[in-house]
């Protein structure tokens, strides 16, 4: 009898599960329908799109409707962006999204040259993270010929950095040599941080007091990866250099604290004296705290 009751409870439970999931599905389908309905307000459609991901995985009809909204250049951009986000959220459910993926990628490629810059940027970003050859080619073509550029050079470099096997290094070096903007130069340097032959460049940038703080910080991080021994040597020299700036000293200190040879650091009296000066001198409180922590970690 107890077994019968248990079985009955299980079957009731299963029915409840089906019913509740069913109502969740129904809500999602309604939301997808609203999002795709051009007669509704932009606000309502954007809100509905956020509720639609489940429907997109389960219903080919709903997915196609949402893709149509995405592709349709006459639709309001806000609605298209919401549709994109909705499909993208659905794509996280890999198993459920399996049959949708081809349509999704094809649709993204078809709007990579969309007139709206924000949509273009997001679409190219999504494709670049998939290491899509189509997107990579578009981005590289744009770096070689600005007339073909779909996004600014700094964005193209950032997106190309998702795949180290691209051919972006030569374009990045050219931009470092002749930067169209500071931000483009910065992104070019970030990309070159994966180039094993670029260590000498980063050494030079790190020690150049005329360079911007964020460039020197990129250089520090790049050199730590490409040639850790050199970075540790330069970090020490920067800390000993009374004429260098507090922020790069703080970065150097962080590099030593995180990655340095503890035994060697502990024995380095000159270094400890410099860090002690940092902890007591006229520097921002945060840097002083960092210096104090360093001193207590390494034995003083």
């Amino acid at each position: 009898m107890a077994r019968k009751r248990k079985a009955a409870r299980k079957s009731t439970g299963a029915r409840k599960a089906t019913k509740k999931k069913g109502s969740v599905k129904a809500t999602a389908r309604r939301a997808a329908s609203i999002a795709a309905n051009s007669k509704r307000t932009v606000r309502a459609r954007v809100a509905a799109a956020a509720e639609a991901p489940l429907a997109l995985c389960e219903s080919d009809k709903d997915l196609q409707a949402m893709l149509n909204v995405l592709r349709d250049r006459s639709e309001p951009v806000k609605v298209r962006l919401a549709a994109l986000q909705s499909i993208q959220a659905a794509s996280f459910s890999t198993v459920a999204f399996e049959s949708c993926r081809g349509d999704y990628i094809a649709a993204l490629r078809s709007i990579a040259d969309d007139p709206d810059p924000e949509l273009r940027q997001r679409v190219l970003g999504l494709l670049a993270r998939e290491k899509d050859g189509y997107a990579q080619k578009k981005l590289l073509d744009g770096l070689k010929d600005p007339a073909k550029a779909l996004v600014p050079p700094e964005k193209a470099l950032q997106l190309l950095s998702y795949d180290v096997h691209g051919q972006a290094y030569s374009a990045a070096r050219e931009i470092v040599r002749r930067p169209p903007s500071e931000i483009a130069r910065r992104e070019a340097l970030r990309l070159l941080a994966a180039d094993a032959t670029a260590a000498p460049l980063f050494e030079k940038l790190l020690r150049d007091k005329k360079e911007q703080r964020d460039i020197r910080q990129i250089a520090a991080s790049a050199l730590q990866a490409l040639d850790p021994d050199k970075m540790q040597k330069h970090a020490r020299e920067i800390l000993l250099d009374k004429a260098d700036y507090a922020d790069i000293k703080a970065t150097s200190l962080t590099a030593l604290a995180q990655f340095g040879d503890e035994e060697m650091i502990g024995k380095d009296k000159a270094l400890m004296r410099s860090v002690d000066r940092l902890s007591t001198g006229k520097t921002p409180a945060k840097y002083k705290q960092s210096a104090s922590r360093f001193l207590s970690k390494f034995g003083q």
């Binding site: 399996e98 049959s99 691209g166 094993a196």
Partner: protein, 421 residues
């Protein structure tokens, strides 16, 4: 092959046209296979995506011209370890032009299906370098299923796996239907597919294999690279001749930035399994292992160590992760590595494993297809048991060793021995 002709091509469109000309000329279509070698000069300084487009176009040309025994291995390689839908689709299509299919091909197709199904994309074969922007055409999964249909009864052994795949694709009605049609077609076919009518190349009936071996006296000695300096995961420097000496060594090539999980990460993981097998059989101190990076500028000792550790690789005096700080080109030439570069970065490579004998000569090579750990260990132990040559072990000419002393091996001419699967 007119290597210079291909290497001189600058643009992709020139390359595409060149490939089309080769495919259309029955006297030259055999050269298409040469274009599939990773180390071909035409691929130098090209990005990975560009190489995918180029190789895919060559595969499609081979599909039109006919698949030879020499080119079959490249198709199977793509199915075995490929992760790019365009290349996998092209290889699947090309396979349908192979004139002598056997049931050995179906597992490759099935493996590719399992690898690619969640990463499938629509592909376009219409024009060189085209990318599909709709799903009206074909895709890697469609081409693979079509190839299973083409195999017909030769694919019956993979039906259970297909049904598992179908069961797991619960939400993908389209895939369900495609698989159902494929299974029906396989069941319904009475005969195996017949020979093609437009192959331009000589065929031999044996199935392709990934292994090549050379008898004593015919092996490439280590003389050209014996002074090349290697650096291991601890930063210790050791000349080539000092490590690859006195006992056989199993050598794999890899690099830490490889983004194909079917290649380098798996290769090094399998090397760790090889080490376990050697240890279990008591040979860990008598057979060395080495993993050498294609990317020595980036894969410095700390990176080598971590990569090996993360994959369970044993590292000690006889088992090392290595890089060539200086003379990387010499090593590539010596092993005739299947790799190419864009600047210092690898743009394409094949799976390759070598077994060097106790004199450091290249005795066995497994290339392109996934090698079996047990088979590699077996071959290494065989080398351990072979007699050392009485002549100068560094000599490249035929030695006084008799290859008939090796059990089961008849005297063979200069050409290497290919083992049947």
């Amino acid at each position: 092959m007119r290597g210079n002709e291909a290497a001189s091509l600058q643009s992709e469109s020139e390359f595409g046209a060149f490939v089309d000309r080769l495919a259309a000329d029955p006297s030259r279509c055999a050269h298409l296979t040469e274009l599939l070698r990773e180390d071909h000069a035409v691929y130098r300084e090209r990005g990975a995506a560009e190489i995918v487009r180029m190789r895919g176009w060559v595969l499609l040309a081979i599909a039109r011209a006919g698949v030879s025994e020499a080119s079959l291995i490249f198709l199977l390689e793509e199915l075995d370890a490929g992760v790019d839908p365009y290349l996998v689709a092209a290889a699947a299509r090309a396979l349908r032009s192979y004139p002598r299919p056997t049931d050995a091909l179906a597992p490759f197709v099935m493996r590719a299906l399992n690898n690619i199904r969640y990463r499938d994309l629509p592909v376009s074969f219409e024009v060189y370098g085209d990318y599909a922007r709709s799903t009206d055409g074909t895709s890697a999964v469609r081409e693979l299923l079509a190839t299973l249909v083409w195999l017909g009864p030769l694919a019956r052994a993979v039906i259970p796996e297909l049904l598992v795949l179908r069961a797991q694709a619960a939400r993908s009605r389209k895939l369900h239907e495609d698989i159902d049609r494929t299974v029906q077609a396989i069941h319904g076919a009475d005969e195996a597919p017949g020979p093609g009518t437009h192959s331009c190349c000589e065929m031999t009936p044996s199935a392709p294999t990934e292994e090549t071996s050379w008898p004593i006296g015919q092996r490439r000695s280590m003389k050209p690279v014996e002074t090349v300096m290697l650096e291991d995961q601890e930063g210790e420097l050791i000349p080539f001749k000092d490590f690859f000496n006195e006992q056989p060594t199993i050598v794999v090539f890899f690099y830490t930035r490889c983004d194909n999980p079917m290649k380098c990460s798996l290769t090094v993981t399998k090397l760790a399994r090889v080490q376990h097998l050697l240890d279990a059989q008591g040979f860990a101190d008598r057979i060395n292992t080495a993993a050498i990076t294609y990317d020595p500028a980036f894969d410095r000792p700390a990176r080598l160590r971590v990569y090996g550790q993360d994959r369970g690789v044993r590292m000690d005096a006889r088992h090392r992760m290595l890089r060539t700080p200086d003379d990387h080109a010499a090593l590539c030439n010596h092993f005739q590595l299947g790799v190419n570069f864009v600047e210092s970065l690898v743009n394409r490579h094949r799976i390759e494993l070598f077994i060097l004998d106790a004199a450091g000569s290249i005795a066995v090579c497994f290339e392109r297809l996934h090698w079996n750990e047990h088979e590699v260990v077996r071959r290494a132990i065989q080398l351990l048991r072979e007699p050392r040559c009485s002549a100068d072990p560094h000599s490249q000419s035929a030695s006084t060793c008799s290859s008939s002393t090796i059990p089961g091996r008849a005297n063979s001419p200069v050409s290497p021995v290919r083992r049947s699967r």
